[in-house]
Amino acid sequence: MALEVTNLRAGYGKKTVLTDISLRLGDGEIVAMIGVNGAGKSTTLNTIFGLIPPQAGTIRYNGQEIGGRRPGLNVLDGMTLTPQGARVFPNLTIHQNLTMGGYTIRHRSEVNARRENVFRLFPVLAQRLNQRAGTLSGGERQMLAIGMSLMMKPKLMLIDEPSTGLAPLLVTEMLEHLKRVNRETGTSLLIVEQTQQIMTIADRVYCMKLGRIAVEGKPERFMDREELRKAYLADVGE
């Protein structure tokens, strides 16, 4: 089991946003997380990754309890977070951003090899090596953000809305890229998404509502518009 979260409670300061989250992610599995704005999807990813201390519950990564530990330690153990909104370092070049993505890698030759690997997936980035990331288009920036995570050759990737800012055609392409990474390296993916296209690559889906998991199921169940609508509106604990 790559990731196992049980009865997680978390929030900001004294405020509780996640009331009770339990979810599992098998090795090599792709799990999608959907839900309305403000349901707590980003908060869930950030808490798993260690940016927000949990208030209660457990987070197990490969069987080890990791709740509340520093993100840097999770990175060293092969977990990455690609935060929402295509976050990159705007004043640094593409080259430097990728180097920073692989900050914890010791050997320079290894960093270079992995950078090449990212370019194989996103050739656009290779053409703009010395362009500052702040001047990239939204879509290019999203590719760079995911490329930064890929630098770590992660075993588990937490990705927060990878399709935002991408043209519809590129959404499919981006999701196919992620599927390919999953297939080639066996990386487990927990992807927060709003677009229905995520159902084409997901093995399983969680639908969040008001800080809880409201519905869990196979993607086929959410393919249908009406079913999806029901899931979004579902009473918590259905």
């Binding site: 840097g72 935060p83 990159v88 705007p90 004043n91 920073m100 900050y103």
Partner: protein, 299 residues
Amino acid sequence: MLAQLPQVLVNGVVLGAVYALIGVGFAIIYSTLGVLHFAHGIVFVAASYLVFWFSLTMGVPVWLGIVAGIVIAVGLSLLINALIYEPLRAREARPYIVLVASIGTFIVLENLIGIQFAFIPRLFELPFSKVLLTPILVGNIYLTPIAIIIVATAIVLCVGMYLFFSCTKIGTAVLAVGHDTELAEIVGMRTKLVRYVAMGVGSALAAVTAILWCIQLGQVDMTIGWVALFVAFFATIFAGEGKIAGAGGTGFIMGIVWNVAALRFPTKWSQTILFMFVITMLWMKPEGVFGTRTGRMGK
């Protein structure tokens, strides 16, 4: 007048070197912590007065006094970070709150030191001051050994900083912490540690600069804190966002402009001319002399 020009330029470079040292130290802290660290001024006052106190009133050996002065001044800055900046950061205080807290800290500490030593300037003559201040004639230019030391230190430092921040991975990482602390944490950096190290290095530079400068001036003076602060602030902003070695470059420019202005106009005009120059330059190139266009006003 043209005959004086070489000497004037040299004087400008010497003053510019002091400004460069001041600017680089402040820029390191500003770029990494993202804080307009007004309390930086107190490090200059503390370092120089501590050396004065240890070596000239308490009779501590000079070298020990200097080392102790630097260490305590740096410790003070780390304490300011631990007690003020880090807690305010954790509580997500707005930048101007941090700014006001910083200015407040400066004033409190300045007054404490002032009450201890009286606010008047004191003679600062270390045993080797006489040697360091005896001018030597090079060609037809007068130079003091202390001036040579200051210029050499400043040049080595600016070049070193430039190489560190543009060519090394750790240098890039320090800049990254300054740009986006959370993202830096996400890629695995120990951002808090980086902030303390930046504070320590920037303050150590300030302490060394303060001591060199006071040896050159032959006195310790409370006003050094405010003067250094203004120079630091202007050199850093004038250089451009995140341009740490650039703050050294602008320090040199400011020192040279000051002295060249004095060549043509009465010295009471020097300050006015310098800042008119700075404002004009910023008006023409708002991103700073070495800056690249990223930020926009209101963004």
